[in-house]
Symmetry: C2
Subunit: 270 residues, 2 copies
Amino acid sequence: MATWGERLAGVRGVMLDISGVLYDSGEGGGKPITGSVEAVARLQRSGLKVRFCTNESQKSRKHLVAELRRLGFDISEGEVTSPPPAACLILKKRGLRPHLLVHDEVRSEFAQIDTSNPNCVVIADAGDNFSYQNMNKAFQVLMGLENPVLISLGKGRYYKVTSGLMLDVGGYMKALEYACGVEAEVVGKPSPEFFQSALQEMGVEAHQAVMIGDDILFDVGGAQQCGMRALQVRTGKFRPSDEHHPKVKADGYVDNLSEAVDLLLQHVDK
Amino acid sequence: MATWGERLAGVRGVMLDISGVLYDSGEGGGKPITGSVEAVARLQRSGLKVRFCTNESQKSRKHLVAELRRLGFDISEGEVTSPPPAACLILKKRGLRPHLLVHDEVRSEFAQIDTSNPNCVVIADAGDNFSYQNMNKAFQVLMGLENPVLISLGKGRYYKVTSGLMLDVGGYMKALEYACGVEAEVVGKPSPEFFQSALQEMGVEAHQAVMIGDDILFDVGGAQQCGMRALQVRTGKFRPSDEHHPKVKADGYVDNLSEAVDLLLQHVDK
């Protein structure tokens, strides 16, 4: 196996997943993962470019950043790539008027979007808004369209909060895909377009960037598909079996973000 | 194309789907499809064996039959094959203790089943019980099992009620399959075991039986896979494109049950 120096050679930008890497979300705003507040600060002082790339679609970017700041992270909205703003760009570009099946809290992200007389459906991690009635409404809108368009903000299977595992938007996307006979367009990791936009915002090329995430498929696999390198942390939704995944092999496994930053600062540009 | 006499030769038993063939369900008990009450009565007087084979899993068999009787159909519980009793047989045989995600109304069908300390999940068309909280609970039960077993009563995409199309259990089955990485066992059409049990209860061989349904895949395709013949009615969830389905071709298309019975009585045993 290559040394860390070889594995991290030429890295100029670091892309960080948020949930499961910086903090575990949950009641009362969640809690930071040990060492992560300090690790982010060290990274920001290092001269490496840093960007946060999340599939969070239950909170607005503003709310998410406020929550992280309360936990001690020094992060601004402009440093975060998240699905709702990316979806708004797509909707505007294609003249799409969405029926929104999203969390109340994230609806504000779509304030500038025309939602009258919908010609597509946008779903996100809607939490308790995933009622039968709301799902049925989204289904009926899609079935009423000649060319049904379903846009899903992420396609995660589940995520971890302090109290346990929670169903994510992916299952609900699959439900609508099956019921309507359509294929969703995914805005979020592991979509290559989403990683590309985060790379652009960070201003580095794929081969100069490393992703650090807790999701072997969406963070690690997705980033590698784009030509980036990727490390998996053993926090968040990490499971020991991830280290023997049949299809995806990370460029390295680390106990947590703090260890990843130690390695980066020790080996990058040496 | 073969004549109706050739297509229906040797038929001794008729299997009828209920929703979309006998009646359209909906508010206030739904309403019978024109001519169907009379058609069922003529069939029952004909000497042909008759059995009702439904994927209805939102109502108990008792409730369903009471509803049909109110609409004028002379049907008894013993003539109906439906998923909940079939699922109970499977649960007992395999020592499975289900966590139930079902409509309140159908819970009584599982009264004799041990539901303590669940080692599987059973989902049915739960209607408004498909809340995020209930879906998440089913998800958590499955994720907590070493060998997760998910049993789905049917896998319908949607059904039609008098007020429009409604999401059926299939999408929710897909959601749990995706989130948990499991494959559901389906109890109901188009499962071959389900058709076989209905044939046994009717006492005829597959080649002697014809299915009449409104669902090109689950009624027509499912029955044909079992060696039965199948007619599709142009009522219920029928869509004109079904007559040019890329994979399934019915042995005949009829406007409604009444026309199907006309043809059967005219051509069978002649």
